[in-house]
Subunit: 229 residues, 2 copies
């Protein structure tokens, strides 16, 4: 059985991703980051999901991105609410965290090297988050190429690294439909940038809007708790 | 004045690197990692050096690489002593830390993005550490390419990232000679993988052997403290 490192945030996308990796026959090693984000209840969601799926191992890595500032997710900038997330010309969203996926993939690469895992799953999506430079296929390809020059296994060709992005071209509705077909229980997942202390989603931040629109288009009721439910 | 992020470990190479960046006219932002290494006195050396050079800012980033194991520098494997570090066929040294430079450069990239710094200095050296895959020019070039696809400034071409490796082709003796010409005080630096509690170097690990050989070839006495005189 091949090992894979799966980046699991506790959200809708990464939970669907984990279901994909398991369906494909990988032995899953889940990695979650605690990175000074406001939405720490995501971490609890990740633990619940890792337990439900009986992953081989689950590690929580502390990474303090607040050191650098620069994003509404990790600093004191207000999380934007009810804005038109589908409008054109928005550019890169204010919730962008500098080099986040690069940092996350680098840790996943370190763990993959130790585990002799050749596959790293990351739930990036180029459609719903087109403003994030590090969610695009050309970025992922460049990271994969770099990874195979960075590691023992890549250089010696004993453990070539593949970055797997099965969700990259899917709409949110398609992700939900695939996940439901794979038996994902979305009541366990947490997407909101600004949940209340119980973990209930705000329903108004960019992430909630994209999620709710996805469920609506998929013709399914979102089973997760919302503040204004 | 252009800003540069300089990866400063507190060792001989990175201190010479900082002197290079300042000589080249950059405003230096020093970044040091506390990564569960045995030789934490390196951190104290980095602080002394950052203070001496009056860098614009110095941050210490906590990264627990022990989570992953896999190296004598971060786990309970014994640091090898008095082995033939110049012998052929050694392959990748046991002190190799999985994906270390990739993780370090990723954090430097995040800070560079926030600072709008276009340059990242890293003291990798392909000659003395030919066994480390992430010290080779082709790795550095691949990281730089990835970085410019990962970031706002790279994609929008407002802040292209350059990874600077002025030491990559130099012997240890040449690094020392350049550093002395730039006025580096090597008594401040710390290279040993296994120093005593006062920070005195062991004189026998791979890093000490390479350093002592470098000073010997440069015709200079190493001013740093050693346990065995």
């Amino acid at each position: 059985m091949s090992r894979a490192v799966v980046l699991l945030s506790g959200g809708l996308d990464s939970t669907t991703l984990l279901a994909h990796a398991l369906r494909d026959g990988f032995e899953a090693y889940a990695m979650t980051f605690r990175y000074g984000q406001r939405h720490a209840s995501e971490i609890d969601a990740a633990r619940r999901i890792a337990a439900r799926y009986e992953v081989r191992d689950h590690i929580i890595v502390d990474v303090d991105l607040r050191t650098f500032g620069g994003s509404a997710l990790t600093s004191d900038i207000e999380v934007p609410k009810d804005r038109d997330v589908y409008g054109t010309g928005n550019g890169i969203p204010i919730t962008y965290v500098p080099a986040r996926n690069t940092i996350f993939l680098s840790f996943a690469l370190a763990w993959a090297e130790v585990l002799a895992a050749g596959d790293i799953f990351i739930g990036v999506n180029a459609l719903d988050y087109s403003g994030y430079p590090d969610c695009r296929p050309e970025y992922i390809a460049a990271f994969e190429r770099m990874a195979n020059l960075a590691t023992r296994g890549g250089v010696e060709r004993t453990n070539e690294i593949h970055i797997r992005t099965p969700l990259i071209d899917l709409t949110k509705a398609q992700i939900i439909q695939q996940g439901l077909a794979l038996g994902v229980d979305y009541s366990l997942t947490q997407s909101c940038y600004d949940p209340d202390p119980t973990g209930a989603a705000c329903g108004h931040c960019d992430a909630c809007q994209l999620r709710l629109k996805g469920f609506s288009e998929a013709g399914v009721i979102d089973p997760a708790p919302y503040v204004h439910g």
